[in-house]
Symmetry: C2
């Protein structure tokens, strides 16, 4: 079996890619460590993390790491001394040519990542999830193992209806919910249904994700861009035109700009939908992660120097304003893990049958994961996990803001109130592309706002750096932040 592991950069100072072909995990780890020393990425005298820390970071058994360390000490690559921990041996680098089998250099993968769109994968609650799976498997009726309802398991739809009502103000009932394999699946289903309803255009935001737009164009829909100004996306230009049949938006936390849609803009969107019979597709991708209080030193994005008015209230789902005109779409990809491939749509009643038919038997989702998630939410484990992650992400965000205030005071931060990413606004004369290039050169994967701009957008361009601070593991976070600050200091200097 081929498996691969990768350390978080901060744990070891470098990233370590471990691949296992026939050999065991210990010998794969030993090879990777030898290679890091041989290639100079781990220099003589470097103190290695404790076996406990490295094991936790890799998600492998501590003994495997301890054994690998012991063997490398025996081989002379490492030294272990009471009180000073395990270090790279002083002579180790000189061993470069001493007959260890040649290994190809590490792949061109970046060492650090601040790409937005992923939660911290290392904090998936494995033990709690297994506990929920055990209960779900024990309690499932036999029929749960059959083909089942294309809308998804009733158990999950029932707890979701309750959860979405209390956490996001969504008007939901189990009958209106269709479970899908994440947001992208839900969007594809909506694209198919809209196309079948002879809709030709779905308007999207000026900034967003190109693979969402592509999904819609693959279904034969045009995706004109809605204008954006300093108050956010506006639907005013749609007027009462029926040319556009639906609008795709991120009202809770515009992706990637990071601001919530203001109340009058929300009302305007609903007015348009009511007047034309159009639909609003609400992508509530990170609705769980709101931090409520303003951060210590908010530095709102100032496109063209204008100050930004900023709505400070709790931001509920747009869907609550008109459940018959809004398709609410949520996902477990940010709150738990993308690997679950579980999302949910809360639909206007009139759409449920069409969406369930478009989904069909073909691409329904595994019932056992659905039952497990239902039990996970029901037992309170989901709320606990979200609360814990919210604190963790919030701490990172605060550290980022504090570090920027100290080391890069010329940089503004926006989109602080929620989510797993912020946007850094750059002083005039500082081009986001040059920063992205400098960051990549340092092994830091990061994107500028330009990467998210709709190709046909006509609104004024915004500049900025999108920082997905949710992406690194806890152990990688400090090192990643350091590289970011270095890059910003270097381009400013």
């Amino acid at each position: 079996m081929v498996k691969s592991w990768a350390t978080s950069p901060e744990t070891l100072g470098v990233d370590l890619h471990i691949e296992l072909g026939g050999a065991g995990l210990r010998s794969g780890l030993m090879d990777a460590l030898r290679e890091a020393v041989r290639g100079g990425r781990l220099t003589p005298g470097t103190r290695l993390p404790s076996s406990r820390t490295l094991a936790a970071d890799l998600g492998i058994a501590r003994n495997t790491v301890a054994d690998a360390y012991a063997e490398l000490v025996a081989e002379g690559w490492l030294t272990a001394r009471q009180g000073s921990g395990t270090r790279v041996a002083q002579r180790a680098a000189a061993r470069q040519d001493r007959g260890h089998p040649h290994r190809p250099p590490a792949r061109g993968k970046p060492t650090y990542s601040l790409m937005a769109g992923s939660p911290d994968l290392a904090s998936f609650p494995r033990a709690e999830w297994l506990k929920a799976a055990r209960r779900a498997l024990a309690e499932a009726p036999h029929e749960a193992f059959g083909f089942g309802d294309p809308r998804g398991r009733i158990e999950l739809r029932t707890v979701l209806a309750d959860y979405l009502a209390r956490s996001r103000g969504v008007y939901a009932s189990p009958e209106r919910i269709v479970v899908c394999s994440g947001f992208v699946h839900g969007l594809a289903l909506m694209g198919r249904v809209l196309r079948a309803r002879r809709v030709r255009e779905v308007a999207v935001e000026t900034y967003g994700l190109d693979f969402h737009w592509k999904l819609l164009t693959d279904e034969g829909l045009r995706t004109p861009a809605l204008p954006l100004d300093e108050l956010g996306t506006h639907t005013g230009e749609l007027g009462n035109s029926r040319a556009v049949g639906a609008v795709l938006m991120t009202p809770g936390h515009q992706f990637p700009i990071g601001l919530p849609l203001l109340p009058d803009r929300r009302a305007a969107a609903i007015d348009w939908a009511r007047a034309t019979g159009g639909l609003i597709l609400e992508d509530d991708y990170d609705g769980e992660f709101r931090y409520d209080r303003q951060p210590a030193a908010p530095a709102p994005l100032r496109p063209h120097g204008k100050p930004v008015r900023y709505w400070k209230g709790q931001v509920g789902a747009l869907q609550g304003l008109d459940p018959d005109r809004v398709v609410y779409m949520g996902t477990a990809s940010k709150s738990l893990a993308p690997a679950l491939r579980l999302g949910w749509m809360v639909l206007p009643e009139s759409l449920v049958t069409e969406v369930a038919e478009a989904k069909g038997l073909g691409d329904s989702c595994g019932a056992l994961d659905q039952l497990t998630l239902a039990e996970f939410i029901r037992s309170g484990a989901y709320d606990r996990h979200v609360r814990g992650m919210r604190l963790r992400y919030r701490r990172r965000r605060d550290e980022l803001v504090a570090a920027l205030a100290e080391h890069a005071p010329h940089i503004g931060v926006t989109g602080l109130a929620a989510g797993l990413h912020v946007v850094l606004s750059l002083p005039p004369g500082l081009d986001e592309r040059s920063i992205v290039r400098a960051a990549n050169w340092r092994g830091l994967a990061i994107q500028g706002l330009g990467a998210f701009r709709h190709p046909d957008a006509t609104s004024a361009k915004w500049g900025g750096l999108v920082v997905g601070y949710g992406t690194p593991s806890d152990s990688a976070w400090a090192g990643t932040l350091e590289v970011l600050l270095d890059v910003l200091a270097a381009v400013a200097g």
Copy 2:
């Protein structure tokens, strides 16, 4: 939470639908039992199964059943006497109007089912599956919780390559495998890919599943029917025509006819594919369940009175003959459970990228189930489960054959060598539709061959009854068989 349970008919003599709204499981069970008594489905004096038996059948705790029984005894619906078990009280039926809240009558669901296409859902190996999930969760690297490879987890593709090679003679490597959510998903992906390649027609078999054909037509493909004669499906009429771009077949065990495709027909199909550049889509839906030895008294189907030559060897996958012209598709739906939504495609190398792209992020499958299945196969639990189920299904098949020989000697049986269903051939003058109607009237869901016939097929019609003996639970099997025999005896008499 709304949940629903259903008893196996044999356990209680009637089926019991238990639905839970706000109330608990015990009170739902009590309502269902009261309703069965009130409605006359459980008559006074009827002995109820032990609480252990009913609990096992429902998959709920024994105490819940025991408590429900005790309360119903206290209410006067049931009686419990040492040595005679729990019975419906003599006066119970008379209580009909005594103020218990009105419940709608049970849904029109049939009590017994011999519908083909489902395994015995009650035998899903819950404990073994949970064990595999525990190991998979413990060993998964952090990156496994991310979006992942649209082809599916490498761990699963690696063990599948090995498993399919040794169990089905499939030429497989992890790089050629794409994991999908069951056969229907795989077929939809192939439909999309073929359409993008400008294929217009995919030929299908004279007998098959209409929702498979519909999937293809939904993708814009025509689905002409291949002719069928007593030796099986033949591709001869395709000649060297390129009008048909692919052929969908069930070579291992024609569904629903039940016979394997004979060697010369296999060779002819491959010849056609090679000559025209066409593809064969091999639906190996129940490849795991072969019984190898001929049953005691084989009674092959005799359409038009002609005897059928019948290939007795092990039937490997067609794909082995030409891995570059055959798309092999397998599924966990028959060997484990449809609810897993896991299937696999072994593709010609030239198709892998297209299929992975068609699948995309949108409808990939949950990684945790994939890792669990990989561990389930790796540990040998899959082989053990399949072996166990093969014995169980085989025993049922033998009981069916023996019972028919004794009680309905005028009925022939075919498709005995493999799978979870057989076809009963009927003597002249006996119409399958009248038997299906009689069976439905007795609460037995079953289908005739006519339900599987392609609407445009021109080959001679075959008559017969498709008996999915894999569908009932172990506890329901004997009762279901009895009803079938009653129906056959009644129509014969």
